[in-house]
Symmetry: C2
Subunit: 298 residues, 2 copies
Amino acid sequence: MGDKAVGFVGLGIMGRPMARNLMRAGYSLTVYDVVGSAVEELVTDGAQSAGSAREVAERTPVVITMVPDSADSEAAILGEGGALEGASPGSAVLDMSSIAPATSQKIGAACDAAQVEFLDAPVSGGEPKAIDGTLAIMVGGKREAFERHKEIFDILGSSIVLCGGYGAGNTTKLANQIVVAANIEAVAEALVLAKKAGLDPNTVYQAIRGGLAGSTVMDAKAPMIIEGDFKPGFRVRLHQKDLHNALLTGKDLGVPLPVTSLVQQMLGALINDGKGDADHSAIANFIEDMAGVTVSGE
Amino acid sequence: MGDKAVGFVGLGIMGRPMARNLMRAGYSLTVYDVVGSAVEELVTDGAQSAGSAREVAERTPVVITMVPDSADSEAAILGEGGALEGASPGSAVLDMSSIAPATSQKIGAACDAAQVEFLDAPVSGGEPKAIDGTLAIMVGGKREAFERHKEIFDILGSSIVLCGGYGAGNTTKLANQIVVAANIEAVAEALVLAKKAGLDPNTVYQAIRGGLAGSTVMDAKAPMIIEGDFKPGFRVRLHQKDLHNALLTGKDLGVPLPVTSLVQQMLGALINDGKGDADHSAIANFIEDMAGVTVSGE
């Protein structure tokens, strides 16, 4: 197997299209996932299957991991049967999962000790941009490793920024998720207030979108809230996980995050209410329920 | 005095340039302010002075009011010596102050009873856009009155939207201010977290501004927070007043506004800390103080 061999661990909604884009770009892929059907799908597309993350690392010089949360990254890389058990000195692990920065730092230190390169490289943009290969990729780690593996990121994304050392990619991702969540919540408060005051929410949206209140979130989510269409998109469950990691990071660093914590609690309430798989714009449902009105209603 | 005579009550930071733009457009102006020096300045520019809002209304068919808050609007229009005492049936009062929608509704009802047209028409954009005549103007009231007086708004602003009946202009303004304040606060939490994690805040800003987190607020205020430059701009004191009016309106309508109330409390704390006249991006100071770090620091 040549230099263009890559391993991919974690073939979920994001991992599958990312792995396919690498194959399309000429990489020979060895894949692993705990879900056998996800592996079979990629094997049909031409990938080789392996029985564990360790086996993937034994067979490829670069292993990409794309798993749900901190514990999963730790298991896939540092755990029994994990990538580090199979990785040779000089090989690399690129963790593209969105996890707590402290976990990325722990994994980075373990990789250093094993002379394995490591980058944390979480992404933003969701499934559509994973399919299009236009993700935003926020990277933490050493500059030499970043330069060496940038050609892989260039296949998967259109904005690739080295943000600092181990964990900096995930810290930047958390900064992103804090702003997005708070902005959705504020748009929801504004539209619910306007609705209950008897105004047409779409008129209010049109009147304020061109001014200082305007944002990518407002243009993406206000129409969904106005229509009452909460099809994902990015799920409540995942945004709650990201804000949980933001709060853990804030606690570690001594940074109180009052609005983040409030919105994180709202997302938790929505999950309890059976809305964990709705789009994160369903934060509006929390405000609507409190106010006894729906923005999309008559 | 012909049809192009207009009265202007309230010659503060916003009112002065607005009044000047009307004179420049050929309107003959009669002005009043409790501060004599502000009146003299406009008289030097060619305006006539009057001794009270009532006298302004006696002498002009259209009176614009631009005062700080609900009680000031009520005094200038409904109070003793106020515009309604001097206004003839068929004349008009255009209140361009940012106040509580319930007060606009009360003033509108009183104007209806006196057969005086009324519009609430608060603005967004601050002093620079007042000077340029490019304010965003959010209007509440009757469509006929809106059509009749739109030529005045067209001189003062570049985006003029009729949002509904009496109070709808101010409700829309509150929706705007809710989103702006929460977004500043979230950008502050994100940048403080990144700073204390040891990242370069400007790199984080550049990495996330092009994605879903991007906004007009982020591009206007993140650079100020990163530089530690809180020169106004729009003042903490005024944004606190607007959010106070949002909370009053929420209470009247039965709309809980959890993030708005939290940020309003932060603005109150900043005022107690002597920062009432700083730019509203100084919300970042609240988070910085809690975290014991400054985003602009070494």
